[in-house]
Symmetry: D2
Subunit: 338 residues, 4 copies
């Protein structure tokens, strides 16, 4: 099948490679000519600009947009003059599902289909395949099925879920039509919200293991902290890489994120190259916003988000307020931050 | 190798079966004679009481205790008169690591070794193997290696962690000597603390997906809730079983707990047989206690614990206090709980 | 000074009474003719409809809207045909500050000023005065000063803040021009966000005091809960009304909310008339949304919000997911919810 | 009445001054002779050592211990040889209520009464009086009533709680016999737990107000943060000292802690002298421990505690784990911490 790909960053380029390997024809464009050239080398058809890309696609066209969320609108503006009724645009990036609703509403009167597709897989997707969460009209999604099936991981050697006896569904092959416009990015948004909290759970656990020697004599006493009631309970010094490793086999907390943690701790148990300022990309925020708007309790998902904010110093003034109060009522003078 | 097993519940019995399959000799005892008989049928040697069990073991004996945490002390009392210097007791249950410190201190003067072993694997362990987190003296753990290796999952077909090139360590085979007395149960405790938060992350995410239709006209308006600013953003009705399924392949949130969630949602997307009162077994609490005592932030792990408390109605009076305040300052009359 | 008041609910009616007492002239309107009549009885001038209200006000008019947030837009629509350049509209309700931005932008080209005013004080405001947080153009706010000063509590007998030696500022008299359009409702929003967390803090504390007898023999054992390690530590039975009372004097946690809690507990220490389903009115949600959008950690404010959601059963499905997982990996059967 | 005071730090010394003013006789001791001399100057009787203090007290003696929790045990050891049946020891410091249970059990066979007394009031107590939360036998507390009444704030000019018509209770005068041994420190513990969360609520609110200009052009863009969807919503620059001030009058969030915050912000709206590393003294931890042990949800109280831990860098390794995971699955390189 034929697909146009706009945006050849880490994700877009690898997706094209995976599609080429599966025998699809890809017309590719990026503002960075070198990115285009690299994929032409790999068998793709290069386009000079959006107009050229659309010209090289046979109607009804399928054009997949794989750019930062903030740029999607502009890319649609660039493509629109060169598209016609029956064509399909796919936003495969990390867009807010509310934008999908606007885009679909804008394109529908022109007879252009709009599909939103949340794409998970990161740098591993080229080999493992991409988990695809798709929203839009059933007919448009149906037509794109060969592309979607090739991008997705497929059944693989993962054991089938007990109770599933029918021929494997799309979900079992790693791609799912989740519902109407926005449904794909909504599910991807919640996916990332969960991801933040899963990450936070492991991070807190390993941090606690690292604090398990808090009662050891070789640790400096901390004037700011209440002394331990039972220092003999905190005398351990764990090999965190080994703990991560043993949990990978047979334990309830085994997961792909744990596999990655094991890799990182194996490379350096001190994780010294990481400064501990943790970014957040948007979906985690949107998940908590959706939880609040719909009245859904999401304490873990939101705590994971706030931990990231704090890691970047955004709680500093709040902490100063606390110190100021303590000084006011008790004359407590806090240690100055280094 | 020879092992005595005291406590033939779901965990203990399956562990004996796994050891028998691996060619070990097992002497088994339980207060429930039927449980003993069933394992004798499977090839184990039955014991009539703790004394009999010790008599049937060749010194130096290895006796594995697999009973509820509250009973361990009493079982040790029962065994002690029949043990001698050089013997080894293993507590493989969900004990508090602080009890291990006490038990080891009690047995050391008698020359009896004490090993604590956190055991993860649940009803799946018989086939998958058990993830073992072990504490105690190196020599005693070393002697028990054949038993531990047979209980553990082994390398299996799980991909090796990048950077591990030496002959597979014990950790890679699913069992780990974590440190001195208590270290095994400490690591298991943190393991379960993480588990609670991982579970909570998925639970919140699926709950949010279920609320994604909050703006649909067919949902009853709720007088207690601020109206949605943009009801058009919440019109979805997701197939939760399909979402769980698609995330199992290629996504960042893939895990064994997700596999189990997919199974449960496949059986009944409404989960109607579950009333939503969630128990907690102890380790989650101990994890948060350790975090607080060592000054380690653990907001997610602890929020997961508190969510369980709330599910059992333990926040009810707090909520009544809130309603009472609202009535006092604003004359608000809350809807009465059904 | 002359003021028109639209919306004569609990808040609007009391504010008119307070203004009448201070010698202001009030023209009042409400869809409920009885509410108008009651205030006419008290000295106000009644209006038959929005047009009549505007006709009875001398330009430049000041019209104060005190209606639910969802109705503000419609009230503005009703008033607009009868207003002219130089007039001022005040939204004194619990509106979202984003709406203020829209309203101000709509009215500016017509030469009509728009002031947003967050109003705190509840049923107590008539006697105590209202704390006013005001946004909009300085000139329009300045013109309204006599009204604002009369509504506000004034200096009262509250001790002046150390370091304040100038003539008392407006803030010290209980009203503050916080900034341009929306600033008043923004500050009021954060005020309510803080209020939710203050309330939650007391609620959790009193709930814990109520659980302080968890180890007493007369409390039923709970099969779902890990047994207490030291039941002798939890043998208390506190008189919550007395505790609330003693904290009112000399303690660090003294506050007006504590005063109200003391009143409620004095009336009934069991708070039996309150069912424990706690509503939320919007500002708490908006506060958390603003925290998330600006990357500000707000774990307490947001946890307070989620506790309210949970009190209304919105976590139920999440808890069912937890129970379903526990059943899958451990065969645990939860107690069914009553 | 006569009282011995051991420990003449900020709290103990001021309490002696308050008692002297009320006409009581105080025998005082501290390891620091200058502290003793200062109070002798003010009218107290100085003691050279614990034995001397006991000798100067007329049996049945009342000796009040006002020292750090970690030192109480040793002070009791020092006093015990010089006390006799019928004497009373009071621990008025911030001890863990579990220690009270041990102390009372140790002293009971000797006929010595033990009273635990949580004391709130900080540096303000000398003038305002101290809020006293008392545990122990009723008879011993009764005998000490003249001392307790003098330390407490008394009725003052605080409005009586609605519904209280009897002669003012002790609680209304600011001191309360809460129950048997430990009850006083238990209630004080929960008091401090609540205090932490109240403080956290204000701190988060003011921090959010400070972030309200996140969309202003003069604020540096942050590569780590998702761009604001609506920067026009975050253009404010609030006068935090004025906001704190206006909330002191007529608002729902008025409190003594807010008064102190207003003082601090009035002195320096930037709070520049406070580094933001916030200590915790023990009671907050014990409150959360008690919540966890009794199965009481306390998300706000515990989040407030964890925020303090994080302010001291205790989350750093957790954050490094998060960054390491992000690098592993997405190739994300975090900005290095300064």
């Amino acid at each position: 099948m034929q697909l146009g790909m706009i945006g050849l960053g880490r994700m877009g380029a690898n997706m094209v490679l995976r599609l080429l390997r599966a025998g699809h024809q890809c017309v590719v464009y990026d503002r960075d000519a070198a990115a285009v050239a690299a994929l032409v080398e790999a068998g793709a058809i290069g386009a000079a600009d959006p107009a050229d890309l659309c010209a090289r696609l046979t109607p009804p066209r399928n054009a997949w947009i794989m750019v930062p969320a903030a740029v999607v609108e502009r890319v649609i503006d660039d493509l629109l003059p060169h598209l016609g009724a029956g064509d399909t645009l796919i936003d495969g990036g990390n867009s807010n599902y509310r934008d999908d609703l606007a885009h679909a509403a804008r394109l529908a009167p022109l007879g252009i289909h709009f599909i939103d597709c949340g794409t998970s897989g990161g740098v591993w997707g080229l080999e493992r395949g991409y988990c695809l969460m798709i929203g839009g009209e059933a007919q448009a999604v149906e037509r794109l099925d060969p592309i979607l099936r090739s991008l997705a991981p497929g059944l693989g050697d993962i054991e089938r879920t007990a109770g599933r006896t029918d021929p494997p569904s799309r979900a079992e092959q790693g791609y799912l039509h989740c519902g109407p416009s926005g449904a794909g990015h909504f599910v991807k948004m919640v996916h990332n919200g969960i991801e933040y909290a899963l990450m936070g759970a492991y991070a807190e656990g390993f941090n606690l293991l690292r604090h398990a020697g808090a009662g050891r004599a070789d640790r400096p006493a901390d004037a700011e902290t209440a002394p331990l009631r039972n220092p003999e309970h905190y005398q351990y010094q764990f090999d965190l890489a080994a703990v991560a490793e043993v949990w990978r086999r047979g334990s309830v907390v085994a997961s792909w994120l744990l596999d990655l943690t094991a890799t990182a701790l194996q490379a350096d148990p001190e994780l010294a190259q990481f400064g501990g300022r943790v970014s957040d990309s948007g979906e985690g925020r949107w998940t908590s916003l959706a939880a609040i708007e719909t009245g859904t309790p999401a304490p873990l998902l939101t705590a994971a988000l706030f931990e990231r904010f704090s890691s970047r110093g955004e709680a500093d003034f709040a902490n100063q307020v606390l110190s100021a109060m303590r000084y006011q009522f008790g004359g407590h003078r806090e240690r100055i931050k280094d």
